[in-house]
Symmetry: C2
DNA sequence: CCGCCGAGGGAAATCGATTACCCTTGCCGA
DNA sequence: TCGGCAAGGGTAATCGATTTCCCTCGGCGG
């Protein structure tokens, strides 16, 4: 609640022309506002074709467009969909947001985009504001646990969780990729190639996609008899994955058993690690191979040293909108929707490893 | 106007709990809605401290928050600011959008983000929708000429143009960088180094930042006696700068007088060109030096071959919000606000050029 | 001829917050 | 003592669109 609120915007209130209202349309067409409204909304058996045409003509002549605010007030639901992203600086989240925006537009909806910066208090503030806007749904791309989130869930708001399941209720609608499976695929590839000296770089593992990616990676390796406890892991401080990757790589390079394959739990970590490795005089990918996750669209252009798991950013929008429709249609328990990822290998050679195991 | 409109959302209308209204707060505090409203908005001399405290207590107990929709309807102005970006897939625009979002949040405003895809019809649709939402302002990051834009300007809406001036009125409020100056700085650097074999890659030059960058570059070169008409320029089709850069580079490589320095009018063009050059067997930056514009934040990490002009993305939000306040305060003719860019040189060596001219 | 039904359409309530306008009380100066 | 004024607060209009009632008119079956 902003206590004083600046009230000095008066000079600007004198807008040149106000948008025409439904009342003006009705007057011009010689009908009541009720009838005009019904024509606009296509209510059947409520107007002669001739009447309807008069209304439509008036709309055209005045350049009328229904005011979203009045409509939202009455319907108790606006045409806005709130999208709360944990970190817009991450290009993969930005790409997902962009995909969502485009799909919403196809439905006549508008995206309101917020960056929670992974902070519960900021997320709370935005959730409350979105609810005050009577948004039609909220899409949380990387949600954190917070009181307002609980309120929204309890109030029966339409919520879709993306990339990270609802921290407060695992059964909430979810769209993402199979992070465990993706981790396992990298493990599989490394096993086939006989990679031994593996290292892992990660940022926060608390409730993040990274947690599951690591799980899938290690489970598959362990199942093949690898002692995963002996695999060196490094991390770095901070929310910025690039910087974290840079520092984590610094730690990794100090180890006596320096790995030759670095699996980074996100592309950004790999970017930071890449620079650190090169500063240390290493040749990439000659001396060290890298794996990432997300497969940023720029990788094929300027980072062909990076193998990664492609996340189908463009599929998120349609998938999420589809899920929204099913929720609005009253479907209750929606199974998590896992989009298909794809292991993208740009660099097959592993530095200084034993010979590849012949194809099975 | 969507003709039929699906009316099947009934099952979902049964929200569990409705948000409390001002009337409920007033009732609980034992005052009228008018008084409650005035307490909330901090109207002076309209309530005893004791009364005000009762209202505040009721607000706390009910968890009340003013509904933005009712307020917007009455005030004829919502707390939303529409941001229309020409291309969100471009990380530099996404970074600017992110900066704007963060600054708006500091003002208690909410960003509604739209991607116009450089299309006038999409921009029109969004502008009309934003106006129907009674947005407090619209920020156009790369506007194109369109009818609805004219309407908005004529109606006296608060508009701020970013990166690309208002195509319909050069005197509209503008925030950007000095593209001409930035182009000139690159020219200056090239002249100092004695670079001769220069090539230029560009996408559309129609009313874009690239147009001014090229102008600054060529003017400065021409002033130093270089025959700019002889400088090879190449372009590629499409809206995606990366792909355009890739194809443009293909064209450039076919020329007999292959340049050794490529100035790309955006970083993305450089990314595409980089891959094409490497596919042709060139070593970058050994065989070919690259200049870009925007200086994507990931450059220092994974693209240290690229010299670029840093655009201060983080400064856009504060600058734009500052401009909004001056507009709301009634200031009329705001001079264009040019943020300070910076030439970032990561690679000083020019391949196969004559010796650098000794420092002047 | 009566009752009923459907089509066509209008009047007014409604959503939630703001605000113009009005009323009362107490105090102070003339 | 009276007028005026400021503080404190309530009533109701208002913003724009939707929607619930309600009314009228024709036609049709009984």
């Amino acid at each position: 609640m902003p206590p004083p609120a600046d009230r000095k915007r008066s000079s600007r209130t004198e807008r040149a022309s106000l948008a025409p209202s439904l009342a003006q349309v009705a007057a011009r067409a010689g009908v009541s506002v009720a009838t005009a409204s019904r024509v606009i909304n296509g209510v059947a058996n409520k107007a002669t074709e001739e009447t309807a045409e008069r209304v439509r003509a008036a709309i055209r002549e005045l350049g009328y467009r229904p005011g979203s605010v009045g409509r939202a007030l009455r319907r108790r639901e606006s045409r806005i969909v709130g999208v709360l992203a944990a970190n817009l600086a991450n290009p993969s989240m930005a790409a997902i947001a962009s995909s969502i925006e485009w799909s919403l537009r196809g439905e006549g909806l508008v995206m309101s985009l917020c960056d929670t910066h992974e902070r519960a208090d900021v997320q709370d503030e935005y959730i409350r504001e979105m609810r005050a806007q009577l948004v039609r749904a909220m899409i949380l791309v990387g949600a954190v646990d917070s009181p307002a989130l609980d309120e929204a869930r309890a109030a029966g708001d339409t919520l879709v969780f993306v990339n990270r399941p609802d921290p407060g209720d695992p059964s909430s609608p979810y769209v993402g990729i199979d992070n465990v499976g993706a981790g396992a695929e990298i493990a599989e590839w490394l096993l086939e190639r006989g990679a031994r000296r593996i290292g892992v770089l990660h940022a926060s593992l608390d409730r993040t996609a990274g947690h599951w990616r690591l799980l899938g990676l290690f489970d598959r390796l362990a199942a093949a008899g690898v002692d995963t406890a002996a695999i060196p892991c490094a991390t770095g401080p901070g929310l910025d994955h690039i910087v974290a990757g840079y520092h984590a790589m610094g730690t990794m390079l100090e180890r006596p058993d320096r790995p030759s394959v670095i699996v980074c739990l996100s592309d950004l970590l790999a970017y930071g690690a890449y620079r650190r490795a090169r500063e240390a005089g290493l040749d990439v990918p000659g001396d060290m191979a890298f794996f990432g996750f997300d497969d940023n669209p720029i990788n094929p252009w300027i980072a062909d040293w990076l193998n990664s798991v492609r996340v189908p950013s463009d599929d998120f929008g349609p998938a999420i909108v589809g899920m929204l429709h099913r929720l609005w249609d009253g479907e209750e328990r929606l199974a998590p929707l896992l989009l298909t990822h794809q292991l993208t290998i740009r660099n097959r050679r592993l530095p200084g490893e034993t010979e590849p195991v012949p194809g099975r």
